[in-house]
Symmetry: C2
Subunit: 230 residues, 2 copies
């Protein structure tokens, strides 16, 4: 890659590459639908939470996701795109992911939220590294922890402490989640040319994307460890 005064990637001619508005709208649309889906999941989990304290905690996390959704909606508007238009192409894949990984109980829910949010945050923060401003800053802001992390670690640790069977089941569950997420992500990219080009250009080339995948997998395993499921 040719050196240039900014951190923006450049192509072999030395020209600074800028992602198209359509590709940015795709990226933000996928992120926005991710927030809306996360809201749904958390709100549903809140309803089945075992105590009033956990119910309120999950409802507040759901509220934080919607705060992020609002920021994305607002930013999409400045690009001249309605949030619903930007989100529409990603509904099938994300709903497919959630359908194929419907949690059977409260603990599977917690593990899914924890690992899924972590994976999304890792992926989008890698992307934010080469996004133009103000989009890069917005993405970083939207990925701010909404409090799931510490909460999930506490609850899962308490549940598996005395029960090896639960631990093994959740460990299997955590590994399955990564597989399903990668499957759906591949469908999305195969279907959206602008987005595929964005990633290839942004990460340099296909080997840049391979490096990213390896990194996402390592971080997923590290999070499994933090839950006591390694």
């Amino acid at each position: 890659m040719t050196a240039n005064s900014t951190d923006s990637p450049s192509d072999s001619s030395g020209e600074v590459w800028q992602p198209s508005d359509a590709a940015l709208a795709d990226l933000l649309g996928a992120l926005a639908y991710g927030e809306l889906s996360a809201f749904d999941r958390l709100a549903e989990d809140a309803r089945t939470a075992p105590t009033l304290v956990t119910r309120a905690a999950l409802a507040k996390m759901a509220g934080a996701e919607i705060g992020h959704y609002r920021l994305l909606e607002e930013h999409l508007r400045t690009l001249g795109v309605a949030a619903e238009t930007a989100m529409a192409p990603f509904v099938t894949a994300l709903d497919g992911y959630h359908r194929s990984t419907a949690p059977h109980d409260w603990l599977e829910s917690l593990v899914k939220v924890y690992l899924g949010d972590g994976l999304a945050a890792d992926f989008y923060s890698a992307v934010a590294g080469w996004l133009p401003e103000p989009t890069g800053s917005l993405v970083r802001k939207v990925l701010a922890d909404t409090g799931h992390g510490a909460f999930a670690e506490r609850e899962v640790a308490a549940a598996i402490e005395q029960n090896r069977q639960v631990r093994d089941r959740l460990a299997l569950w955590g590994r399955r989640l990564l597989g399903e997420a990668i499957t759906q992500a591949q469908y999305v990219v195969a279907d959206r040319d602008e987005l595929a080009e964005l990633f290839v250009r942004g990460f340099g080339d296909m080997s840049g994307i391979a490096v990213l995948f390896k990194k996402l997998q390592l971080q997923h395993n590290r999070r499994m460890g933090a839950l006591g499921l390694a």
Copy 2:
């Protein structure tokens, strides 16, 4: 009532009356659980909303309710009371109300949110008139419209325009909601001495409460009219 330099009610001895912290915690606990329940309802409605636009609109309203919940939780903390402790006495009555008025479809949901929020706002703003500061201001802030109003009016108007049967069904539904709300409110007050005393003292006497009930009924009817259901 003896005249005094503030708007605070005074008893026949001319002494200015101040609600106890326990009564305030009850009042705020009921309001907080109302917000948490409203969040649940809106989040559930969001899931069944007919379009991505309405789904996002309802999710944002649910997020606003949680914003209000956070303010109440914070204020309760300054009174030395955990939100879950303050809410606990009101769970049965509010859940009972929601169970006995479970909407059968999207339109019944909308009408319920619109009328229920209106009723709660009327009631709490009457109460805020004689609450000490900063509790009075907090209650007024928490009652700020979260955007349901215009949204529900638009959706219901569109649905009943061409369908008299739907209109009649929703009109009946709207009247039933008021009856159920009053029934549950009576259970709550009968069960909570501090709260009952707060209302009697705050509104002056039993006839003050009768005036309030009349006013709530009139405003409910006015809102039925705004929905086209009078």
